[in-house]
């Protein structure tokens, strides 16, 4: 079996494992000794790991010649997304607090 094919199978199996773990944490957090907040942190960690797995194993943009520019665009987008999501939650939370 070629290296490329075994990489894809590894990616698929690890994504499958991560998805199933996240699912069982969601439906039964008590089994994993997690409260609601701990469960949220756990499933977000799993989601981040799985997104990395998919980026590395499935989205094979990284073998292109211009990999530097692909990465540059990706990381600037990631920072824009962080700003949008984190600061939206932050500012709305503060407004909500001052309204009470």
């Amino acid at each position: 079996m070629s290296r490329e094919l075994s990489l894809r199978i590894t990616g698929f199996l690890s994504a499958l494992l991560l998805t199933l773990t996240a699912y069982y944490i969601i439906v039964n957090p008590a089994y994993f000794n997690l409260d609601a907040q701990g469960a949220v942190i756990a499933i977000f960690t799993l989601a981040l790991i799985q997104s990395m797995v998919q980026l590395i194993f499935f989205i094979d943009i990284w073998q292109e010649k211009e990999v530097f520019w692909n990465l540059a665009v990706f990381f600037s987008t990631a920072s824009i997304i962080f700003i949008i999501i984190y600061f939206s939650i932050w500012i709305i939370d503060h407004l909500n607090y001052h309204m009470h």
Partner: protein, 187 residues
């Protein structure tokens, strides 16, 4: 830089801007998901087994799509067609489950007019579903290309971009699964 590299880079930039659209919809959903306006909450509405089925179907379709791309790179038309057909069927069944889920919600009075939570839910998940529908159309066109055209550089580059789009949709779904269904069901 070759022409196909430029096209892939341009398409990559498009995907990143699409990701920003999804990020804005995610931010809306996270902010609004408690505002049920005395209507049904996320925990009452979500049916987790069908969400798991959707997730596994989309994940498997991403895998079969990468196998199709593997065959395309080796210029094996038959296997490429087999894998892309499987991917297409999996994508279509994902869309069917999602449409059934939406009709079920609407039948129970949980329409997008009911509350801010439901508006943001339908906008986010519906936008992803629309992308899946467009991806399926694109995949069907690419399968006709594989049948009728030689697998030259241009066709391979087009199929590569379609596969990239499909993996991107699975990538976005991980966060829909976690943010919308995960948090919605836990809290």
């Amino acid at each position: 830089m070759e022409a196909s590299d430029t096209k892939i880079f341009g398409f990559w930039i498009y995907l990143m801007t699409d990701l920003i659209i999804f990020a804005v919809l995610f931010a809306c959903y996270i902010v609004l998901h408690g505002n049920t306006f005395t209507g049904p909450s996320s925990q009452e509405l979500f049916h987790m087994p069908s969400v798991l089925a959707e997730t596994l179907i989309l994940l498997t379709s991403s895998f079969t799509c990468s196998l199709g791309m593997f065959a395309v790179h080796r210029r094996i038309k038959n296997w490429a067609l087999v894998w892309f057909s499987i991917t297409f069927l999996l994508g279509a069944s994902f869309l069917c489950i999602e449409i059934l889920e939406f009709t079920d919600l609407i039948g129970r009075g949980a329409t997008w007019q009911r509350s801010a939570f439901l508006s943001s839910f339908f906008t986010l998940v519906g936008t992803h579903g629309l992308h899946i529908a467009i991806g399926l159309l694109w995949m069907a066109v690419m399968m006709f290309h594989i049948v009728w055209r030689p697998l030259g550089g241009h066709t391979v580059s087009r199929i590569f971009r379609m596969a990239l789009f499909w993996h991107f949709l699975d990538f976005v779904w991980i966060f829909i699964f976690t943010t919308v269904y995960g948090i919605g069901y836990l809290q």
